[in-house]
Structure formats: C-alpha cells, structure tokens
C-alpha cells in the first residue's frame, strides 16, 4: 500500500488517481485533495455564510462528507463539481441554522479610501459579494472564486444555464456600481 512517492509527485496526480488510492485505504493522500481545493471551498462557503467560523465549519464538513461518501462516488466523474455541490449545501445548512446573520443592508456604507491597499480592496470586494441576494452570491462565488463555467455553475446549483448567465449579469452590474460608488 505504501508506494514510495514524493509529495511533489503526488500533487501532480489527477483527482481520479487520488480518489482511487484513498478508496484502496491510503487515507493520507486525501490531504492533496484538501490542499488542492481548500481555498475555493472556503471562499465559496464564506460568500454564502458571511462568517469566518461558519465558512470554516461548512468547508470542513464538505470535505469530510465527500470523504465519507467516496465509495459511492464514480471516480471518473469530476470531483470538483461534486465537492462544490456538497460545499454549497453545507454552507446553506449552516447559514440557515444561524438566525443572527442577515445579508448586509443596502444602506450600510463601505467607506474606503481610494488609495486602499490590495488586501483592503480584496476584502472590500468580498464584502460587496456578501451584500448580494443569496442566488447571486452563490453564482458569483462559484464563477469567480471557484472558477467554474456557467454550465458547471448551473449543474452545481441545479439551475438553468441561462438563469445562471442572467444572475451573473445582474451580480456584475450591482458589484461594479457599488464598487464605483465607493472607490471612484
């Protein structure tokens, strides 16, 4: 079971190869799946839940759930889509159980200097995403943070592809308007 491979070799393995090894009992290689997708899963969970700790819980739950159901997953199918669908569900569940969190109100102002540093600007973009209605938030997160195509976003969210395009168009319009109001 212990084929001698370096970490570098392993990180070039396809998702399918890693999944097959994990199913053979090589649990530690699952780390490479986690490392590969943790940023996008976390970023999407954050966009949906709007909180650091909820995003962390939802993202961890997603990876653990995927691992537990790996035996029922067909390794020749794209793992990333499967993972993101579960991540979206975990995030919705968590934000649904927390009553305290509501999308930021339209009226709350983002007051940022025009010469903000890159990290400040990035944080401001994430804050603008949080202000979007739920569907637009999910579409935006999957399209921009997880870098999925509209067809893939539609598959993950079980939506019509043209509905995804319309949502993306609306989200983009709103984001750019808000951004220009705050910065330009």
């Amino acid at each position: 079971m212990n084929i001698k491979t370096t970490a570098v070799e392993r990180t070039t393995w396809s998702d399918e190869a890693i999944v097959r090894r994990v199913l053979q009992g090589d649990t530690p290689v699952y780390r490479f799946i986690v490392e590969r997708y943790q940023d996008i899963v976390y970023a999407c969970a954050y966009a949906i839940t709007g909180s650091d700790s909820d995003a962390k819980d939802a993202a961890q739950e997603a990876f653990i759930r995927v691992y537990r159901h790996l035996a029922q997953f067909d390794p020749s199918r794209p793992l990333k889509l499967y993972l993101m669908r579960i991540a979206v569900n975990c995030s919705r569940n968590i934000s649904g159980t927390r009553r305290g969190w509501e999308p930021l109100e339209e009226t709350s102002e983002i007051v940022k200097p025009a010469d903000a540093t890159a990290p400040e600007r990035h944080a401001a973009v994430r804050e603008l995403v949080e202000r979007l209605p739920q569907t637009l938030r999910e579409v935006c997160a999957l399209f921009y943070f997880a870098e999925h195509s509209c067809r893939e976003v539609a598959e993950i969210l079980q939506m019509n592809e043209s509905a995804v395009k319309v949502a993306l168009h609306l989200a983009r319009k709103k984001l750019l308007t808000d951004w220009r109001c705050a910065y330009e």
Partner: protein, 159 residues
Amino acid sequence: MNESCENFVAMLTDYRWLGPRERAPLDRHLAACERCREEWREAQAADELFTGARAPAPQGFDDAVMSALEPQPQVATNWLWPVLAGALAVEVVVAVALQIDPTPWWQAVKTFCGQLINEWSAPLSGWTLPFDPTWWIGALLLVSAFGWLTLNHRKTEHA
C-alpha cells in the same frame, strides 16, 4: 440589442472558457458593435475586480480535516471460489496430461513415485496407498489452496 447581440452577450459571460474558434466570431462582433463592447468592458472590469480577491482557507484547515477522517472501510475480496476453481482446473490439466503423455520421461516419474510410495507405506503393516500421482498432486493443491485461503482470511480480519 438584436438577436445576434444577445447570443454574443451570452458568450461574453464565459469568455475565459471559449476556445480560439469560438472567440474569433465574438471578437469580430466586438470590433463592430459598440453596445457589446460596453458589455465586454464591464465583464473585464468584474474579472479584474475579482483577481486576487479570494480569501485563502485559514491556517491548519487541512490538518483539521485530516484529523477528522476515519479509514475507508475495505471490502474483503472473496477468494474462496476463484482459488478452488483454479486448483480444480490445474488438477484436471495434470490428470489429462498424465493420461495422454506417453513419453518415457513421464513413465519414469510415475515409476519413481510408485517405488517411493511403496517404500514409505511398507512399514504400515501392508496398507497400500493409492499410487496414481494425479491423486497426490490433487491432494497437495487442495491443501495449499485451503492453507492460503485461511491465511488470507486472517489477514483481512486483522486489517
């Protein structure tokens, strides 16, 4: 906005996923249509806005996930029937070979085995053991097959 513009606007959304063949007509349209060019600029502005904006997962995230994982349950392969069928097949092949092979080499092996068995069985107060080598090879195969299966069964139980 006419019908072809609508198609191009729909394509704009997925611009980064388009291949060169799909991009060519879109680029031609953009060069000619100011309205779509405006849409295009907005899409580019949004792409730029999101560049680098993704928050990384917190430190130690991967460790937390890995420490929560149980080993995957391993389904033990059922070796019983394949192994027994294999032993039986070998036995049949050997039996047939012994029956049909008339070469002096086989004859010599048979005679040698027979003498050996007779010598061993001599002290056993006249018991005669079956001489046919097929019988012995078959018995040996069955014993090894069962031995191997038992070992294999123990190994999967411990795993």
